[in-house]
């Protein structure tokens, strides 16, 4: 007679394997579909030319430029701030009521729907900050109080900030407390403990967390709808106060706003492929960093 415990054990294994396989099959199906339909159109011209006509021809160069620029600017804002805040919370502040309140606020912010960040960006960055700057410089026309790359990057920076803080905090927590004590024992200051003991050990985790949070930000569309993304701009100016095109939004436009959606279908697949390559690229960099650091620590 088969033991009941063995049956439950096998059932548990079977059910969890089934769900794991579902994820693998689904991911393979999606990537396969995008690859099969998107590779045809993915030519050099597609990557280096601007869109033409009603965006049913040409390439996606200004869209790639806008996306890369936004991600870079967003990282410049959120990575240093996120790292500094996490270092303060984990290494400097006393772990009292203020710490607990701040961490719970950060976790709550990480769970706020991204569209809310878009509305916040519109109200705070575009209207209050932009309006304030226009007033400060005495501009009668709207210069700063416009939807643009700068405000979009700042909005995305704020969106990824809590994710960054959590990622860096988790990486710092992985460093055992006694390693810090050992540093204090031989006369290191708190900063030297961070610089020479904590950071080298947490580096891999910190970089991985940051890259993953940036790649998550790169895939977001909702927040920038209100603060800077444009429907169609044939040439990306690179100016901070100009609007820009964005891969995620471009896909949405092609799929819903195009006069002939079926005609743009191959472009949609190729654009999706580029977006996937971009986010997978970020993820791969994160994985590589983690692997490299783990290898170094276990050498």
């Amino acid at each position: 007679m088969i033991d009941k415990r063995i049956i439950i054990e096998r059932l548990f294994s079977l059910v969890t394997s089934f769900f794991a396989m579902c994820v693998v099959v689904l991911t393979t199906f999606i990537i396969g579909l995008v690859l099969i339909n998107g590779l045809d159109k993915l030519t050099w011209d597609f990557l280096t030319l601007p869109p033409t006509g009603t965006m049913d021809g040409g390439g996606i160069l200004p869209i790639i430029e806008g996306t890369v620029m936004l991600v870079l600017l967003m990282s410049l804002i959120s990575v240093p701030f996120g790292t500094a805040i996490a270092l303060y919370l984990n290494e400097v502040s006393s772990k009292g009521a203020v710490y607990n309140y701040t961490m719970s606020s950060v976790r709550t912010l990480a769970a706020v729907p991204s569209i809310v960040y878009g509305l916040f960006g519109l109200a705070f960055f575009v209207n209050i900050m932009g309006g304030g700057l226009d007033f400060l410089f005495g501009y009668e026309e709207r210069v700063f109080r416009e939807r643009c790359l700068l405000w979009a990057a700042m909005t995305m920076g704020v969106l990824t900030l809590p994710i960054n803080i959590i990622a860096v905090t988790e990486a710092l927590k992985m460093v055992p407390q006694e390693q810090r004590h050992a540093g204090l024992c031989f006369g290191y200051t708190s900063w030297e403990v961070i610089k020479w003991i904590v950071f080298p050990q947490a580096k891999g985790g910190i970089l991985t967390g940051l890259v993953l949070s940036v790649s998550r930000g790169a895939g977001e569309v909702a927040p920038i709808l209100f603060v800077g993304v444009a429907y169609f701009i044939p040439n990306f100016s690179g100016e901070l106060l100009d609007q820009f095109m964005y891969l995620g939004y471009h896909l949405y436009v092609l799929a819903t706003q195009s006069p002939n959606v079926d005609e743009t279908l191959p472009i949609q697949y190729s654009t999706t492929l580029v977006l996937l390559m971009l986010t997978f690229g970020f993820n791969s960099v994160g994985q590589y960093m983690r692997w490299k650091n783990r290898k170094k620590l276990q050498r």
């Binding site: 006694e178 050992a182 031989f186 006369g187 290191y188 200051t189 003991i197 050990q201 276990q298």
Partner: protein
């Protein structure tokens, strides 16, 4: 008690934790130079709190001190500012924790020489000479001299603890504080560490906290017995174990409580 003939003197040292618990109550003790002094007592009697207060590692827990801790040159440890305290810990009072703490990802060479970065010793020859000297004094040189670039975490538990001692003495501190350094070691590693402690006492003043009374007898010239934060008795080790003057000490030694 004349400070200049002693390595360290505490005068009515009291340590209070932020929750109001008194870790030590008016402990006055004079530690002789170049000797091993053992601190014994039951769990929670304040041995480690007392030891950590000697280079103010208890600051981290927000402890409040009263009294004084005087070094041979008259320096009052309790009056030092943050910068002076770092120098004290780096150059004058070394500390070895209960469990060995090698640094992840560091080679043996990097690990032992970590304290030198804090005081800006960067000359390669000087660093190498200090490294060799510290590892020799910690009885580890012969075992690791051919693999200094291996990870320090690859060493055995006993070797890791001796590496931590080498790290603590690399700047040749006058005083070395050892907080139950053998508690996680096997008998063989303990024996090796004890003979190293005796050897270190030739040019360092060693204060060791231990639970193991046999160990105190083997290594210490003098022994202090603490109970509930108070110093009950402090005398030559031989006297403490053969003819203790206090009943409490006698009861502890014969195992009536632990």
């Amino acid at each position: 008690m004349e400070v200049e003939k002693k390595a360290l003197v505490t005068k009515a040292l009291s340590i209070t934790y932020p929750n109001g618990v008194e870790g030590c109550k008016k402990v006055s003790i004079a530690v002789a130079r170049n000797e091993v002094t053992a601190i014994i007592g039951p769990s929670g009697c304040g041995k480690s709190t007392f030891l950590k207060s000697l280079n103010r590692l208890n600051d981290e827990f927000g402890c409040v001190y009263e009294g004084s801790i005087l070094l041979a040159d008259g320096t009052n440890v309790l009056a030092l500012n943050q910068y002076e305290l770092c120098l004290l810990r780096g150059e004058r009072v070394g500390y070895v924790m209960q469990k060995p703490v090698p640094f992840s990802g560091k080679t043996i060479r990097q690990d032992v020489t970590m304290p030198l970065r804090g005081i800006n010793v960067t000359d390669k020859d000087e660093v190498n000479e200090k490294l060799r000297h510290a590892l020799t004094r910690a009885a580890l040189w012969d075992e690791v001299k051919d693999r200094l670039d291996n990870l320090s975490t690859s060493l055995s538990g006993g070797q890791q603890q001796r590496l931590c001692v080498a790290r603590a003495i690399i700047n040749a501190p006058e005083i070395l504080l050892l907080d139950e350094p053998c508690s996680s070691l096997d008998p063989k590693a303990t024996q090796l560490l004890e003979s190293m402690i005796l050897d270190l006492a030739l040019d360092h003043t060693v204060i060791i906290v231990t639970h193991n009374m046999q160990q105190a007898q083997r290594v210490a010239a003098r022994t202090a017995f603490l109970y509930e934060g108070e110093l009950v008795e402090y005398d030559m080790t031989e006297n403490i174990f053969s003819k203790p003057s206090e009943k409490l000490t006698r009861d502890y030694i014969v195992g009536k409580f632990s």
